[in-house]
Symmetry: D2
Subunit: 221 residues, 4 copies
């Protein structure tokens, strides 16, 4: 897996603070003239007041590489985002190179079985797509969930907060959680105040899960 932050709204904190100030001012304030102190002061106040919409003005674009189709099928269920994904209809997956779960990687027998099957898949895919009658979009029906894919994702800061709440939690599936944690680290670097308390809910307070779903190991402060 490779996760890069490839683009984002310049100065996310300034943008959010400027939008907030506009709501409470007679005139639109001059964005470039706001001091760093003023920005921080506004963002702190906003956190307390729950006025979350102002961080929507900052968007972040990630290039996600070499993740499984299992991950992307979950990811694209987040609807307040924009996606551009590698097409299995048009791209010939020359090198299957699957994502291997740790539980399989670490079990010799399982790993062998897994690898053996992947070889079979590769051969079948190659053979099918070489037939004139079978288009690429049909040959891909044999490709497994483990197949690597790439996807460009753009989310605004508010949706990212929501995404991190769900996907950085230990209840999330391991692969998407790994990705979410990497994304969080990257945006924290660019917008530290906005994302200071982002992540699984246990970062901010008691776990909201019921007893049945509580992982028992909340993140410690």
């Amino acid at each position: 897996m490779k996760v890069e932050l490839i683009n984002h709204t310049p100065e996310p904190g300034r943008s959010a603070a400027h939008a907030a100030l506009t709501c409470y001012s007679e005139k639109v304030p001059e964005k470039e003239k706001m001091s760093q102190e003023k920005i921080e002061e506004i963002l702190e106040k906003i956190k307390e007041s729950g006025h979350h919409s102002i961080i929507e003005h900052a968007s972040f674009t990630f290039a996600i590489q070499e993740v499984s189709r299992t991950l992307t099928h979950q990811l694209v269920r987040h609807r307040l985002a924009s996606y551009s994904q590698q097409s299995q209809r048009y791209v010939d997956i020359e090198d299957l190179d699957p994502v291997v779960p740790d539980s399989i990687e670490e079990n010799e027998e399982a790993r062998k079985r897994f690898d053996g099957l992947m070889e079979e898949v590769k051969d079948t895919y190659m053979e099918l797509k070489e037939k004139d009658e079978v288009p690429l979009e049909d040959a891909r029906f044999v490709l497994p969930n483990a197949t690597k894919t790439n996807i460009i994702v753009t989310m605004n800061a508010r949706e990212l907060w929501h995404f991190f709440s769900l996907r950085c939690c230990k209840r999330a599936q391991w692969e998407i959680r790994d990705m979410a944690n990497r994304m969080l680290e990257l945006v924290k670097d660019k917008a530290p105040i906005i994302f200071e308390e982002a992540g699984a809910p246990c970062v901010r307070g008691p776990c909201p899960e019921s007893e049945e779903f509580f992982c028992g190991e909340p993140i410690e402060d």
Copy 2:
């Protein structure tokens, strides 16, 4: 594939017409008192004026069964909709029973190869999930795109129009096109005026595709 319309806003046409009339009236009209003629008259006018938002008040829920994960990965990219999909994380896929593309079905060699691989997949999946160390959510990494899945989908009439424009077109992938056509037939039955001209753009006028993408066989009136 099995496509059922399992629920919808009662009287979609009346609802849309009533909403439209509200925009142009001093008082909210009495919905139940609108005559069928009045409803039809309003809906015809709306079509001409391009006031599409009024059909958003009618929603339709479909149960889609036995389609491939290839299909659902495309489907859930439509963001103005609600989805509940069978979870491969929690549901043990006891019977793989894959979707087989026609191009493979009709080529004996391809079909044999495909079937052979599917048997291998089934055995591997069974063997992996029987290991204590490999949870179901990891065993599924070997399942192919062809694996059957079920999904409940709710879209409002406006989003359905958009969906049909893209997915009933011959440029769409065959499986999702088949599904879209079945959905269209079902909603046409319940809301004939609203969906009268829904479908691929060539139902309504000249194909908007560029020469490169024109299928050459627009739907005839």
Copy 3:
């Protein structure tokens, strides 16, 4: 203000429970065969697990009458909803009949001043729109926030939950809070399990507001 529930997805609870069960079953269950007990059992479980998306399959349509434009300007900021609002561009507001805030109603001097101004507004609006050169869409520039308007609103149950959390809270402006409370009562009647704990957050637990914004009077159980 008049708030009516004029349409909704039939059997919202059954629909939500059916969608939930689909996620965890090998086959799509038969919706009509689910017993009331089964439905309740599933919905209770869902509440605990935080699997909120399943209630999106149920939508509710309200006719809201005789509310101020102040209210609707706030209302339409909720983006996951569908609206059809009386148009001031096309509808001649023959009878201004403004919404009067209690604080003005109950202060004789304020009320007199307010009424006097409204008479002035009415006369000016009439005079302007009678001029051939001034179209209705320009005459309305003199109409006040207090002007009554009508709007048809459709939201799904999940968005309604979110809406009630914000707008039933005492921090919300009085008019939209009044409307939200009426809407809540109406949907609770039709879908009691789904909306059992809906409303301001203090219905469900401690107030999430910071000290500065805490109203001091949480709703008691």
Copy 4:
């Protein structure tokens, strides 16, 4: 009215082209290494293929000042966008300074009447808000649609396209059309290829309106 583009995703064209290329490549291409020629070539192809989603990765933020509440009530109906608007609940509108439609401005009698009423409104608002019993959020009920307001708007390029199609058209109300035209000019400057053909539909081809709504003066090439 004052319309400024105060922020945007850096290099919108490069971002969109990079996302498009990702869909059709085995690896995510290196964004910074794409030549200007390559970018233009991809964007031209995309235009033909109708693959609009790739321009969603570029967002634009505008500061809109001194527009009427009539305008913003229309504007915020566009749901795929983020807004931060001056609050009449919290901001004391010290200087009413209304937006005056040309049709009123240019008619001496109408203008006089309008100005007279605005003076009355100002006095009433001042008097009301000075009473301890009447909070600012109630005093504003007398403020007219013409009242000036400020709003920060963020939309991605795809939603902007849609917005321009509706709001640059002569059927749109004059004030929002003026604003849309200014926004279009600003983004065309920053992302000329993406917005080359944006605007009212008659910029790109024949008017899609029915005879009844055709303005008779399509924009000439």
